[in-house]
């Protein structure tokens, strides 16, 4: 097992969370609007998804400042958590994830991001606890599954072994074709 922390999977985790958060921002209102209700939040998520982390965080912070309602605020904080994870500023990221979960303990994306932070920090029991909570809310989440695999790599590393067994006596070919 070469890598304990697969950075490709890690990036996929973040991107998956951001996609869903961005979609949530757009879908939260029943009113007819032209463009996103909180453009900074939307474009911040877009920037984070495209890998422009600094700009994404800047815009998302602005979006948080003008957030209307708990949903936008939670989305902003969850995306800030993800953004700071991308910058490997885990303490800052953790603070934002904690805030989200303090407001809404059913926010699986924040559990996913926080579990990822815990894995990166080696707090594996905390990661397991958050993963279980996230999986209970969203059992089919690919993001959570990716973090679960990273946790497994950390707690239960394995080395693939293949046995090629030619010892069996060849079977008589009874095929008609």
């Amino acid at each position: 097992m070469k890598m304990i922390f697969d950075h490709g999977a890690y990036r996929a985790c973040i991107v998956g969370c951001l996609c869903l958060s961005a979609a949530g921002v757009l879908a939260q209102s029943n009113t007819t609007i032209l463009g996103p209700s909180n453009p900074n939040l939307k474009y911040g998520a877009d920037a984070l998804l495209s890998g422009d982390t600094d700009e994404g965080i800047r815009l998302t912070l602005m979006g948080l400042e003008f957030a209307r309602g708990a949903r936008e605020r939670q989305t902003a904080k969850s995306n800030l958590c993800a953004g700071y994870v991308m910058l490997r500023e885990y303490d800052t990221a953790l603070a934002y994830c904690d805030e989200v979960l303090g407001e809404n303990d059913g926010y699986w994306r924040a559990y996913s991001n926080r579990a990822l932070i815990y894995v990166k920090l080696g707090r594996l029991e905390d990661a397991e606890r958050d993963l279980q909570k996230g999986e209970a809310i969203s059992p089919s989440s690919r993001t959570l599954k990716a973090v679960r695999r990273m946790l497994l790599d950390a707690t239960n590393p394995v080395s693939p072994t293949i046995i090629i067994d030619d010892r069996r006596s060849p079977a008589r070919d009874t095929d008609e074709d």
Binding site: I4, F5, T161, I162, D165, P170, D173
Partner: protein
Amino acid sequence: MKTRFRAAVVLICWLFAAAGAAEDDSDVTHLTDDTGNRMPLRTVVPVYPERALADRIEGEVQVCFNVDREGRTSRIAVRRSSNRLFEKPAMLAIRGSTYAPLPQGEELSGIKTCRTFRFLLDPVAIEVPDELSADVEP
């Protein structure tokens, strides 16, 4: 003379198996005996499926196939398998494997050859002392 030839073939087979293992990062064990009528020449080691590795799935596949006069494999079919994840890599491995050509004067037996692949995961202890501290540095 025939014994020496067989020994040489087995040696070559092991070298190829070792080369395949190095590419895939998997440990490989090749078990053989004298019950088969054809000697492996090039043994391709299947790749451990990424999803099976990530989900900690082990399994076993038995593949049966024909070997022609030149030692090429054909009519490859899975005879039994514990998980479909392993079937494609096993079949691809057989497709790339070859056997020693049939010596002049010998006839094809019409017997299918079978090979069993066991995909196993051995627990390992890995210590990465610097990685986490490196990760938390800005």
